[in-house]
């Protein structure tokens, strides 16, 4: 297609989540791509609908009612390309996070080498590792076979051997996987991604080709012992997961056709976009994206060329909530609650919500519980993900490394609650340090921009520059060893008109200096008692900061966040924090 046409095309981006399906329109306005509007409808992947296409059409219908232009024809088929009367769209892209958890067996040679990479690869998608197999496995070969068959995998990730390295042991492992696939009913055979020694590609095709649900011979995740290369295999895995979804969910094939192949797992598209932004803006300390949804909580962090992508289905806010207490405790969730509720109510909430993932809180108490659970799952996901951040081996386990930017999305963060509450939830769960802006992706555009980038590489940057994300403000997190109430920082914000706002910040406090969106001001920080406000322990400095819905927020509540042990005092403190951010 000629470049000029590609550059000016309207793009319909579809996001199929477990609970909600969104239809988003991007179009060229005054020579630049803009986010035009978003329509949404409940997702229909699950019973009783059992066809994602129903929800997709409902979401498009909702979008049509907002834009006033028709995208669906009278027979409910998509009008593409756009017509001279203004109906239709030129292109479609899509992301999908709906679908059952991907039961995955990881196979490799060495625990500390290929198996580690295989697990990391599995964690980049909606997978749960149900069994693993490597050279140190003490089970007999037939026990291994039976274990794989019994685990009913949807996916096998097969790694091992550096390029041109070990082949004999690798062939034995491949043979075991082939036999296990052969023993499963044909319609239930798993998809297999081979991401090991490239020299064995032909052997893999011969041993597995006829027995796997689908075999993809991909790039080695460990081309050498010292090098881990998850990127190419990650793309291959994303494509294989979409093939799996096509097998599992009615309607994915039609969406594939509409999108001409531009369809990706949501988390993968989120990661792609964060890597793109990290490169585009030359981030040195890292960009972080958090997305919390019914199917999973996903974390993508870009450090220049390097991407850490983690998807945690066990921390989804839908069906998997019933199993959340396998990963945390009722007490750890309740510590975030400003209300005095019996533990039973939380327990019952987890199970009842798992029955109906698409439902929303019906009362203020439920809303508080939903926010407490969201904080805890984000907190757990962040603790796990940041272990993989560059330099994490030598970093503090309790305190997050400084970052350049955080962008957060997901219904619980962006739908219906105040921006102050969104901000507090993110500060509590992520506990960032240093000086950085926080944005909220209220229309969940980030993954859609990630998949649209493959169709039109101008679109993501132009849409982001047009202010598609909501800036909450600039955060200054103070790290200090001080007693509660002891002064740790003097801050002075000088506005462009010469006036200023000042704050004497005490340890344990949360302070806000007003600075509207679109404005910038000079912020001077003078830490006391060797506190670190972003310039190093005890070091003063000044910096130009940008405003946002909440202005400049100074968080001196401690890292990690400390709570009073007395529940009454704890709840009072949380209420005070809520009050500070506007309730």
């Amino acid at each position: 297609m000629p470049t000029s046409l590609v550059q000016n095309e309207s793009i319909l981006a579809i996001e199929v989540g477990t609970a909600v399906t969104r239809a988003v329109l991007f179009d060229v306005v005054e020579g630049q791509y803009r986010f035009v509007a978003s329509g949404q409808a409940p997702s229909t992947a699950e019973a009783p609908f059992g066809d994602i296409g129903i929800g997709v059409r409902e979401a498009i219908t909702s979008l049509q009612s907002i834009t006033g232009s028709s995208l669906l024809g009278q027979d409910n088929s998509l009008i593409a390309p756009s017509q001279s009367d203004g109906t239709g769209v030129d292109a479609v892209v899509a992301v999908v996070s709906a679908g059952p958890i991907v039961r995955t067996v990881v196979v490799g040679l060495l625990q500390d080498v290929s198996m580690q990479s295989a697990r990391r690869l599995a964690e980049s998608t909606y997978a749960r590792v149900v069994d693993s197999l490597d050279l140190s496995d003490q089970r007999k070969p037939d026990e291994q076979l039976d274990a794989i068959v019994r685990s009913r995998p949807d996916l096998v990730i097969l790694t091992g051997g550096t390029d041109g390295g070990a082949s004999r042991s690798m062939l034995k492992v491949i043979e075991a996987v082939g036999l296990a696939c052969y023993l499963m009913p044909e319609e239930k055979r798993p998809m297999v991604l081979y991401a090991g020694n490239e020299k064995l590609a032909d052997d893999v095709k011969e041993l597995l080709g006829a027995h796997a649900g689908k075999l993809v011979v991909g790039h080695n995740v460990r081309p050498s012992l010292e090098v881990e290369a998850l990127g190419p295999a990650g793309s291959e895995l994303a494509s294989l997961v979409m093939d799996l979804r096509q097998r599992q969910l009615k309607g994915v094939d039609e969406l594939q056709m509409w999108a001409g192949g531009n369809i990706l797992p949501t988390a993968f598209a989120q990661g792609r976009m964060i890597r793109f932004l990290s490169q585009l803006y030359g981030s040195t300390r890292g960009l972080l994206s958090v997305n919390i949804g019914a199917s999973s909580t996903s974390i993508a962090a870009g450090f220049g060329e390097e991407l850490v992508l983690k998807t945690y289905p066990q921390f989804g806010l839908g069906e998997n909530l019933a199993g959340l207490l396998q990963h945390t405790t009722i007490e750890d969730i309740m510590r975030w609650l400003p209300l005095d509720l019996p533990p039973n109510s939380l327990h019952e909430y987890l199970f009842q919500k798992s029955l109906y993932p698409g439902t929303i809180p019906g009362t203020s108490d439920e809303q508080a519980i939903a926010q407490a659970i969201s904080r805890q799952v984000m907190y757990l996901a962040m603790r796990s993900a940041r272990k993989e951040f560059p330099g994490s081996k030598h970093a503090s386990k309790e305190v997050m490394r400084p970052l350049d930017l955080i962008v957060a999305g997901g219904g619980v963060i962006s739908d219906g609650i105040s921006l102050g509450q969104s901000l507090l939830m993110l500060l509590d769960a992520i506990q960032p340090v240093g000086i950085l802006p926080i944005l909220v992706d209220q229309n969940n555009l980030l993954p859609l921009l990630g998949v649209a980038a493959a169709r039109n590489h101008h679109l993501p940057g132009q849409v982001i520059d047009s202010g598609a994300f909501t800036g909450l403000g600039t955060i200054i997190s103070v790290v200090a060893s001080a007693n509660y109430g002891q002064q740790v920082l003097r801050a002075k914000l000088t506005y462009s008109d010469g006036t200023d706002a000042r704050a004497d910040v005490k340890f344990g406090g949360l302070e806000i200096l007003p600075l509207p969106s679109g404005q910038s001001a000079r912020l001077g920080l003078q830490p006391l008692n060797r506190a670190d406000a972003g310039f190093g322990p005890g070091r003063s400095g000044s910096i130009t900061v940008t405003g946002g819905a909440m202005g400049v927020v100074i968080d001196a509540r401690g890292r990690p966040l400390q709570f009073p042990s007395d529940p009454v005092r704890r709840r009072e403190l949380i209420k005070k924090w809520y009050y500070t951010v506007g309730g």
Partner: protein, 351 residues
């Protein structure tokens, strides 16, 4: 907006596909009558496999080992049967450790399946077989009352239903269960303790249909050998008025409790079926409809979780809820004439 439908129907046509997870034998033919506990299809499958590594045992190449293997794919072998024999003066042998069937021979190895297990697929409802799905199962059709639930422990049985609930918010306690209920299906309220589940198991009962259950009991409930079907959910919840009315008026009737697990992707869900004689078969119910004024709806979340009401108004656009959230919503009139605003995603149509 589209609405999921929860079926609580006094008389409807029920059509269910019942299939095995693996290929097997179907025991019924089209137009045959089935009872809930009839085994409509069965399959045998190997519980385990045995891999005999001839090449490694004889310390020879796989190609040479293949020449010494005496069995072929598909052979059924008894225990201690000869699988391979080495050549030379001191011959060594490899024999089957257990009876089984040879699955694969090659690469100097023999793979056998051993330890046959049997899967029996029960009808789960009475009715007429209208279609046979070769090697998999059947489609069964019947008329009767249908009451769907939210959780089941995976078991199926049928029996005479005995009411042990006087009002929707009753609790089913162990002292309500006596020996006269042996072999019955008990209709009860909320279950709050393990003792009740244990006493029901000791009797034994043929099933429990309850309004709600303490979530701490779910692991125990899953292990009970009789079906447990939860109608409304987890926590202390009264039985929804539609199910309560329909079930209590069918006291002492033969019912089938199909407490299968709720599977979001196959639409299998726990349900109570009460067969009824009909002259003209009623229509099959729809699984989803569009929300409309006048519909009877059940609330899925607090503050009125489990309650049934009727939609009186569907405001356009988004409505502001009492907790500050904004969502498409419906005005719903409850039994006491109170009207509440409920987000549509928290509703399901009853019908």
């Amino acid at each position: 907006m589209l609405a999921p439908v929860l079926h609580i129907l006094p008389l409807t046509t029920i059509v269910r596909e019942r299939t095995l997870p693996v290929a097997g034998t179907v025991n019924f033919t089209v137009n045959q009558k089935v009872n809930p506990t009839d085994v409509i299809a069965e399959a045998r499958f190997a519980r385990e496999h045995v891999l005999l590594d001839v090449a490694r045992t004889f310390e020879i190449s796989p190609r040479n080992a293949d020449k010494l293997i005496k069995v072929s794919e598909g052979d059924r072998l008894p225990e201690d049967a000869l699988v391979a024999e080495s050549t030379g003066m001191f011959k060594r042998t490899i024999r089957t450790p257990r009876a089984g069937r040879v699955m694969v021979v090659g690469g100097g190895q023999v793979l056998m399946e051993v330890g046959n297990a049997r899967i029996e697929l029960r009808a789960g409802m009475p009715g007429i077989v209208t279609q046979v799905i070769p090697e998999k199962g059947v489609v069964i059709r019947m008329a009767g009352a249908l009451i769907q639930g939210t959780w089941g422990n995976g078991r199926i049985d049928s029996g005479l239903m005995v009411k042990k609930i006087e009002k929707p918010d009753d609790v089913l306690t162990s002292d309500l269960l006596d020996v006269s209920l042996r072999g019955s299906v008990i209709l009860g309220g909320h279950i709050r303790d393990l003792e009740t589940l244990k006493i029901a198991a000791e009797m034994p009962v043929r099933g429990l249909i309850v309004s709600s259950i303490n979530p701490a009991l779910l692991l125990n409930a899953a292990q009970m050998r009789y079906p447990i079907l939860v109608l409304d959910g987890f926590g202390t919840m009264p039985m929804n008025s539609a199910a309560y009315k329909l079930l209590t008026t069918n006291d002492k009737r033969e019912v089938t409790v199909n407490a299968e697990h709720f599977d979001r992707y196959s639409n299998n869900r726990p349900e109570v079926i009460i067969p009824l004689p009909v002259h003209d078969e009623p229509e099959e119910p729809s699984d989803y409809v569009m929300f409309a004024v006048g519909q009877q709806v059940r609330m899925r979340r607090s503050p009125h979780v489990g309650m049934i009401g009727s939609i009186t108004n569907l405001p356009d656009g988004l409505s502001k809820l009492s907790n500050g959230l904004r969502a498409p919503a419906a005005e719903v009139k409850l039994g006491d004439d109170a009207s509440v605003l409920v987000p549509l995603v928290n509703l399901e149509v009853v019908g």
